[in-house]
């Protein structure tokens, strides 16, 4: 969308808008501290004003690049105007959401102080100006230069810390209003960086370094920024969800098998851990197993379950496989519901589940007790956060290495064309079963931690669809939404799909409907997911990425 206007006026509008946007967070937007985040102070931005300020800074940066300010231009190698537009939309949406929320939650537009009105007008000017500027997207963005090793590593560290900061801000928003203002800002902000070519440049640099180490290191920073357990608990749940989504991504993303009952393997792991945890509700009254043994048991039992379910079902294709796995997922839940001693053998304590699971103790380290590391007190949830990071690291390691090997190539070949893969000598059933078993055992590993983290294992945690993750529908959605066949995709998808229902509890009645709508919109406009596999992007947006090549193929095919 563009607006017709002389370029002089457009530049003036953009500059004025940007300046006013930067100034407005320093004014009071409302008169009462009843609105979350305290927006009443002059001279000091608070709450959602910070988001407006940050998006305003981003827009100012891209505006400077678009105006050709020396040095800044390099920050938008692929073109600054489209990036400026996205950044201005980030400022516009977040500011208007906040102003509207003030008016609605406090009961009328009179509650908006002049500062708020100024902000609303400023972002509108900025967005209008940005959309009136002429597009300067580079046909072929210049290749990035290699920087000295230390500079590149420092750059990666800064990028990851910034990403972690944004994520932390999202996790720690303490009101739905703040989160609602954060979400579009983050979305449009990410889009701005992407169309500016910054994301691409960063991934080029990332490809030359051990980026997983940097990601892990910046994730380690999170518990140091937290004083209480409130948000660390949310982060823990996100990590459990993400770990399982990553495991599912092997089955769905690499091999292309639609598994709708995957949460059963998480449950298998959780119940295995619960049974040997020494809980008084467990059927086995034994001393608690050490966690490493529990983890192996959970993985083993889940692997076995995966093989038992996979052996008959993996001979089916497409929709049939989806239906049968959906059935097996429900069978798991109903079975553990009935193994209560009356409906069936006594094993799982039926619908009440196995409660009071004690905390993990690993090599003398009690995960339930607070520990002091580098002068920072680590509570129970921070301890589990560290353990879950280790679990994710294991899963990412396995995923990355398996995916880029003879086995991974066979999986992808089966996904792409099973008949051709068979003709190449790939035994389809064997490799599908291998993927199914690997995915199941990784979910089982996550399950063992989850049982201890939540201190219980109850059947209702492992449904097909529910309003809160993890359940099979949300797991699949996290993979598809984030980006199939990638590592960061399911992590992003899991974080979003956990945070959105958790922050918008008042949407509870409409949650499933909104969830469905979001998926439809997503499939229409970005079927490759938020973090697309480079190859998938080519698949879905052929006309943009390689129009010339596609035309060539078409022309030659008609000869």
């Amino acid at each position: 969308m563009t607006i017709k206007m002389s370029s002089r006026v457009a530049q003036a509008l953009t500059a004025t808008g940007a300046a006013l946007t930067l100034a407005s967070p320093f004014l009071a937007w409302t008169w009462t501290a009843a609105y979350p985040g305290n927006l009443t102070l002059n001279g000091y931005p608070g709450g959602s004003q910070v988001v407006t300020l940050v998006t305003g800074l981003l827009a100012t940066m891209f505006a400077a690049a678009a105006f050709g300010v020396p040095g800044v231009r390099r920050l938008a190698p692929a073109g600054a105007v489209r990036a400026l537009r996205a950044a201005s939309l980030a400022a516009l949406t977040t500011t208007w959401v906040t102003v509207a929320a003030i008016a609605i939650t406090l009961g009328g537009a009179v509650n908006v102080e002049p500062g708020g009105w100024l902000a609303a007008v400023a972002v509108l000017l900025l967005a209008t100006g940005a959309h009136a500027l002429a597009d300067d997207t580079a046909e072929s963005p210049p290749k990035g230069v290699r920087l000295p090793w230390a500079v590149e590593v420092a750059l990666i560290t800064v990028v990851f810390l910034a990403a972690m900061f944004v994520l932390t801000y999202g996790i720690t928003t303490d009101s739905a209003e703040d989160f609602l203002a954060f979400l579009p800002a983050a979305g449009f902000g990410a889009r701005a960086l992407s169309v500016a070519g910054v994301t691409r440049r960063i991934s080029e640099i990332n490809a030359r370094h051990r980026v997983a180490v940097a990601a892990l290191a910046s994730a380690l920073v999170f518990p140091f920024t937290q004083t209480g357990d409130q948000y660390t608990a949310i982060a823990d749940n996100i990590l459990v969800f993400a770990a399982v989504a990553l495991g599912l991504n092997i089955v769905v993303g690499l091999v292309g098998l639609l598994d709708l009952g995957y949460v059963a393997f998480l449950g298998t792991g959780a119940y295995s851990a619960a049974l040997v945890s020494g809980s008084t509700f467990s059927t086995f009254h034994i001393a608690p197993w050490p966690f490493w043994a529990t983890a192996l048991l959970g993985m083993g039992v889940s692997l076995l379950a995966g093989l038992i379910i996979g052996a008959p079902t993996l001979r089916l294709h497409g929709d049939y496989l989806a239906i049968v796995t959906l059935g097996f997922g429900e069978i798991f839940r109903i079975t553990v519901n009935n193994l209560d001693g009356t409906s069936g053998p006594s094993l799982t304590n039926g619908p009440n589940g196995i409660n009071a699971i004690p905390d993990i103790e690993l090599f003398g380290f009690d995960f339930g007790a607070p520990h002091t590391i580098l002068g920072v007190s680590f509570g129970r949830f921070a301890n589990y956060y560290l353990l879950l990071l280790a679990v994710i690291a294991v899963i990412v390691f396995v995923y990355a290495r398996a995916g880029d090997s003879r086995v991974g190539r066979a999986w992808i070949a089966l996904r792409e064309d099973e008949k051709a893969a068979t003709a190449m000598g790939i035994e389809g059933f064997r490799f599908k079963l291998l993927a199914f078993g690997l995915g199941a055992s990784l979910a089982g590993l996550a399950g063992t931690v989850m049982a201890h983290l939540q201190t219980n294992a109850v059947p209702d945690n492992y449904k097909f669809a529910d309003t809160a993750p993890p359940n099979s529908a949300f797991l699949l959605a996290a993979v598809v939404l984030g980006g199939m066949g990638t590592i960061s995709g399911p992590l992003v998808g899991a974080a979003l799909l956990y945070l959105i229902p958790a922050k918008f509890e008042f949407f509870n009645r409409y949650q499933m409907m909104l969830f469905g709508l979001a998926l439809i919109v997503m499939m229409r406009f970005r079927p490759e997911g938020l973090v697309p596999d480079r190859k998938h992007q080519l698949e879905f947006h052929d006309e943009q990425v390689s129009g010339a090549e596609a035309r060539q193929v078409a022309a030659e095919a008609t000869v």
Partner: protein, 289 residues
């Protein structure tokens, strides 16, 4: 239908490389392939021609284990060939498809490396462990795949997605992928379908180069000039049965072949070249088995 004499494969001493005996494939009441005998000697190029729907592709599928023949036996290199695609590929038979079947969203190089599946052994655990043996195997696969891409004329295009290659290049990539499994026999299913004359000539040269490496070729083709230039022997399949087998020139001159392609002649048989064109007119038309 009379059984044509099986010609002794020229230039081979002992047993032929591929020996199909009375291969029959029935789908319910339909007999798609009816008692076909065919031998391919070492280092030979044998052509398989016939009108649309004659059962040529079905016969290929019987050889490669995609179909289990209802009756008959396939022997390869002196041993019975089990009807399992993985075992067939491992034994040394590779194929291409009539409608290109590449792994569209893998890179060109990855496509060829997948072709080496049966010649490599790394499992899941060694992929995770990445010991020296694994790395050596990967290195070998990469360099061998690179050589094969050079061989078929796709050098330097290894990092593209297969789907972005031109049509002719996709056909060559399919051949490279098949060669990656280190076959003794290569089955080509209409390698020049949809190609222009220039690309057809290039494919011809490529098939010659493949044979020069000691790999026998069995090729289904409609382009009669291609068959005449390349093949040591030609077999004609009509309605599931083998009509005739022999040297290309003899087959081309045979009245029954002309009749099979064009119907019974009115007074004088037309020159066969026109007949070829009639048969080649719509090579992409799907054959029902």
């Amino acid at each position: 239908m009379s059984t044509p004499p099986v010609l002794e494969a020229p230039g081979t001493g002992t047993s032929p490389l591929l020996e199909a005996r009375r291969v029959t494939m029935r789908f319910g009441g339909l007999t798609a392939v009816d008692g076909v005998d065919l031998t391919v000697g070492r280092g030979q190029i044998v052509g398989l021609i016939g009108p649309n729907g004659a059962g040529k592709t079905t016969f290929f599928n019987c050889l490669t284990g995609l179909y289990v023949p209802t009756d008959g036996e396939v022997r390869f290199d002196g041993a019975a060939l089990p009807p399992r695609p993985a075992k067939v590929t491992r034994a040394g038979v590779a194929r291409t498809f009539q409608n290109i079947r590449l792994f569209a969203n893998m890179t060109v190089l990855e496509n060829v490396i997948v072709g080496r599946h049966t010649r490599t052994t790394a499992g899941l655990l060694s992929a995770i462990g990445r010991g020296p043996r694994y790395r050596r195997e990967e290195r070998e696969s990469h360099s061998r795949a690179g050589e094969l891409l050079e061989f078929v004329g796709l050098g330097g295009q290894g990092n593209q997605l297969a789907r972005n290659l031109s049509y002719g290049a996709q056909r060559r990539l399919e051949i490279a992928r098949a060669l990656a499994s280190e076959p003794k026999l290569l089955l080509l299913d209409e390698p020049t379908a949809g190609m222009n004359p220039q690309e057809t000539r290039e494919t011809e040269e490529l098939v010659h180069a493949v044979r020069d490496q000691g790999i026998a070729v069995l090729v289904i083709e409609h382009d009669m000039r291609f068959i005449m230039n390349l093949c040591d022997r030609v077999a004609v399949l009509v309605q599931g049965s083998k009509l005739i087998e022999g040297a290309p020139g003899d087959v081309q001159a045979d009245e029954r072949v002309v009749e099979a392609y064009l119907g019974a002649p009115d007074d004088e048989p037309p020159p066969l070249d026109e007949g070829d064109e009639a048969a080649t007119r719509d090579p992409n038309q799907e054959r029902t088995a």
